[in-house]
Amino acid sequence: MTVRRGDTGSVILEGACTVEDAEPLLQLLQANPTPAVDWTTCSQLHTAVIQVILASGAQIGPCGDAWVRQWLAPELPQKGKPG
């Protein structure tokens, strides 16, 4: 499992997030009225996971996936540093 709820209520993505992680991620985000994702410790993101993050409009801090950090993150609204 690479998707879990963090202490501060944000959803933490760790390691390589595969297509199977999209659904649990979505469920966690749906359960949270102010969704936030901590993706600093993930190493690789699947497109399905990216789509959920895009749709939720929530993410925090620099992405652990270097490619995503370079090409995708600049386009996304930042929500401050991870707590």
């Binding site: 999209a22 979505l26 749906q30 969704p35 497109t47 399905a48 789509q51 895009l54 749709a55 386009e75």
Partner: protein
């Protein structure tokens, strides 16, 4: 055959049909860029699919055809008959190979040589061809050359990521490649990771990911429905990029951006346009600030407002333009430039805030919807195999039979328990099922309805080829292509139609000289029109040729001894013209390659008869001929009458029955051994069905009234004597099968409500 191969066969046929149509239109109506483009795309797609199912011979040939069409598209080559001929020849070869591929799962052994030979023929038409420079690059770049051909999303992406591009680029002019990848909605299920493909793009300069349509509420998101569009610009080699996306060629567009475009993008088109709009508005403001231009105040104000509004519309800000126009009206009314001036100033301020000027970070807004419109529209048509539809039609047919069985049971209940609550309930349910089954059956039959355009589509090619062969100038006009008809009818209509069109071309249309001499235009017209008249389909094939001369037909018929002389001379001109449908009749003095072998029109009539249609012909000497086919819309359902003779039940098609009468012995007169009676001033022979079917029957009671079914078929009238009329039914006729397939006199069989098999008689064959 794998699903992929099956799909290839279906698609290839469709593409060949479409390309043929467009090629002929190209030759006939001239070369419009869209049409050339369509032909080009058809060949391009064919080549692509040939590659997918690994048919290199087809690929080689189509590649050459594509080069030729590319030259046409670029204007380096004008379309002439030779190019069209060769391209059509290439399509013919594709058709043959597709047939081979379907039956043998492979191309013939000689395919390689044939393909190369055809490729040579195609290349020979290329203007000043130098060596073999048909670079494969052409296949990957859908748009090359000037930047104006680039889709809007490329410009957007370049503009939006200008900063990234400038830092990523070596600062010189260079070509780049733009990639637009729209993964299928279900791609996650098939294990695709679209981003993974994007990660492999070498020399990435810009990247953007966006939903194809705005995401709905998070609660309704389906995480496994891919709704994304991925855009990228790369400085990498287009071939490498194409190789990365080789498995999803249908979902990706790879476009070469010419050198210089990126440099120009530093001052992006959108940006340039915006600054122009701004300048125009500023100029109007200055103009309005000039005081004291009383005499032409209104004109000056109007001009300023118009200029500003037009500029804003051009800058895609119509709402601001509207505000300006409203302010101008107010200013005119008040004879004060103030309101307009402040509106213009407001517009300048708004303009600065509007999203289209927000620069590189405007990325979370979906890139212009124009991206979608440049793609092909989503095809909402479901492709279902004919066999499945056939199965469904059969099942619906069986259901109709079962409904008839229910009606039978309901009647028995009514007889035994008439008036009871149970009987009423059964009756009610029966009515409901009756209605539903009728509706269902109608809807299912509707599935088989196809527009006649599919049938008409083959005629432009036929007419073109035959007209060239005969050196005639013939234009085809088709009307009513959207009229729908049952697929079975359409399939059976094809051959008779080919005969009719060939006849019109060969016999109807005169030579060029004859037409000139007759004072007609050299170009003849053949029109094929379909229309719906009640529940019948009427197809008319009309030519404006020489018409059919009754005198000539009379002479030929007499020479060919079609009828005894006295009968022939008694015929009216109309009836004589109808003789062209007689077997063995031909007016052609010489047998040509096209028609005139004395077969044709009689084949047409019998083919149309078989599907329950009628053929008639109208002709005026010197003006032209119209052949009219009057056809049923569907042949799946027949209305029959169930009659009893000598204790056996038979079905008679209702369309043959004109009336049923009861005659008293006094009305019947006997001529030799035959009985007859007078109905509406005509003598109608009486034929006993029992005798006709050689059933052991009692002699009819000489004093009792006799029940007769009067039928008119094939121009004859007869009264069939029966013992009783049992029922009228809508049935699905099944043709005689197996051992009985050859039995004459039967139209088919159907199951009765009680499970009994009912033989339905073919009255045309049975009446003596």
């Amino acid at each position: 055959m794998s699903a992929l191969q099956e799909q290839f066969v279906t698609e290839a046929r469709e593409l060949v049909r479409q390309a043929t149509e467009d090629l002929i239109a190209l030759e006939r109506d001239g070369a419009s860029p869209e049409r050339i483009d369509r032909v080009f795309r058809a060949f391009h797609t064919l080549k692509g699919s040939a590659g997918v199912v690994e048919l290199p011979a087809m690929g080689i040939m189509l590649h050459a055809a594509e080069d030729l069409l590319a030259a046409v598209r670029e204007g380096a080559l004008a379309v002439d008959a030779e190019i069209v001929d060769t391209a059509l020849g290439c399509l013919d070869q594709v058709s043959r190979w597709v047939n081979d591929f379907e039956t043998a799962h492979a191309l013939p052994v000689r395919a390689g040589e044939d393909g190369r030979a055809m490729a040579e023929r195609l290349r020979a038409l290329l203007p000043g061809r130098k060596g073999q420079q048909a670079g494969p690059a052409a296949q990957d770049s859908e748009a090359q050359g000037s930047g104006s051909l680039l889709p809007e999303w490329v410009a957007r992406l370049v503009a939006a990521q200008r900063d990234a591009m400038v830092s990523g680029a070596p600062g010189r002019l260079f070509a780049a490649t733009a990639i637009c990848y729209e993964p299928l909605a279900g791609c996650f299920y098939t294990g695709d990771d679209p981003l993974q493909l994007m990660r492999q793009i070498p020399g990435l300069l810009a990247f953007h990911i966006e939903p194809r349509e705005p995401f709905g509420p998070l609660a309704e998101l389906d995480p496994y429905d891919c709704k994304l569009r991925l855009l990228a610009i790369s400085a990498g080699d287009p071939h490498t990029i194409a190789a990365i996306f080789r498995l999803v060629p249908d979902q990706v567009r790879i476009i070469t951006i010419p050198p210089g475009f990126l440099a120009a993008a530093a001052e992006s088109p959108a940006h340039r346009e915006q600054s122009l709009v701004r300048k125009v508005i500023e100029a109007q403001c200055e103009l309005l600030r000039v005081p004291d231009r009383r005499e032409d105040f209104a004109g000056c104000l109007g001009a300023a407002a118009r200029a500003a509004a037009n500029a804003l519309r051009r800058g895609r800000l119509p709402h601001l333009a509207d505000t300006i126009e409203r302010a101008a009206a107010l200013a005119l009314a008040q004879r004060d430039a103030g309101p307009l001036l402040s509106a213009l100033e407001q517009a300048l301020a708004d303009f600065a805030d509007s999203p289209s000027t927000s620069g590189p970070d405007g990325g979370d807004r979906p890139i212009a919807a124009a991206t979608g419109s440049s793609e092909r529209p989503a095809d909402r048509v479901l492709r279902v195999s004919e066999a499945k539809i056939e199965n469904l039609v059969n099942l619906a047919g069986e259901l109709v039979v079962a409904r008839n069985a229910l009606a039978y049971s309901a009647r028995r209940v009514e007889q035994d328990f008439g008036g009871s609550e149970a009987a009423r309930s059964v009756q009610r349910d029966r009515d409901a099922i009756d209605r539903l089954v009728s509706e269902l059956h109608g809807t299912v039959l509707q599935l088989r309805m196809v527009p006649v355009a599919q049938l008409f589509g083959s005629f432009p090619r036929l007419i073109r080829d035959v007209a060239r062969q005969l050196d005639k100038n013939v234009a085809l006009v088709t009307r009513g292509e959207t009229t729908e008809v049952d697929k079975t009818i359409m399939d059976r209509l094809f051959e008779p139609m080919v005969h009719l069109v060939r006849n019109a071309l060969d016999h109807g249309v005169e030579d060029r000289e004859q037409r000139r001499a007759a004072g007609k235009s050299e170009a003849a017209t053949i029109s094929i029109a379909a229309s719906r008249v009640g529940d019948r389909l009427v197809v008319e094939v009309t030519d404006d040729g020489r018409g059919i001369d009754p005198a000539v037909v009379r002479r030929k018929a007499s020479e060919q001894r079609l009828l005894p002389e006295e009968e022939l001379s008694a015929l009216t001109d109309e009836a004589v013209v109808d003789l062209v449908f007689a077997a063995g009749f031909s007016t052609a003095s010489a047998v040509s390659d096209i028609s005139g072998r004395g077969i044709g029109m009689d084949v047409v009539r019998s083919a149309i008869d078989q599907i329950g249609g009628r053929v008639s012909l109208q002709s005026q000497v010197g003006i032209g001929t119209t052949v009219r086919l009057d056809l049923p819309m569907t042949i799946a359902m027949s209305r029959i009458m169930v009659v009893e003779a000598a204790g056996q039940l038979f079905g008679i098609a209702m369309d043959a029955v004109s009336e049923t009468v009861r005659v008293t012995p006094g009305e019947v007169s006997s001529i030799k051994s035959n009985d007859g009676f007078v109905l509406h001033d005509r003598v109608v022979p009486i034929i006993s069905l029992a005798e006709l079917m050689k059933l052991p029957g009692r002699r009819p009671d000489a004093t009792a009234a006799r029940l007769l079914v009067v039928m008119e078929t094939a121009g004859r009238i007869a009264a069939l004597e029966i013992d009783a009329i049992r029922d009228r039914l809508d049935v699905v006729l099944k043709p005689m099968q197996g051992l009985l397939a050859g039995a004459r006199g039967y139209a088919g069989t159907t199951l009765l409500g009680n499970g009994q098999v009912l033989l339905v008689l073919d009255m045309k064959e049975i009446l003596p």
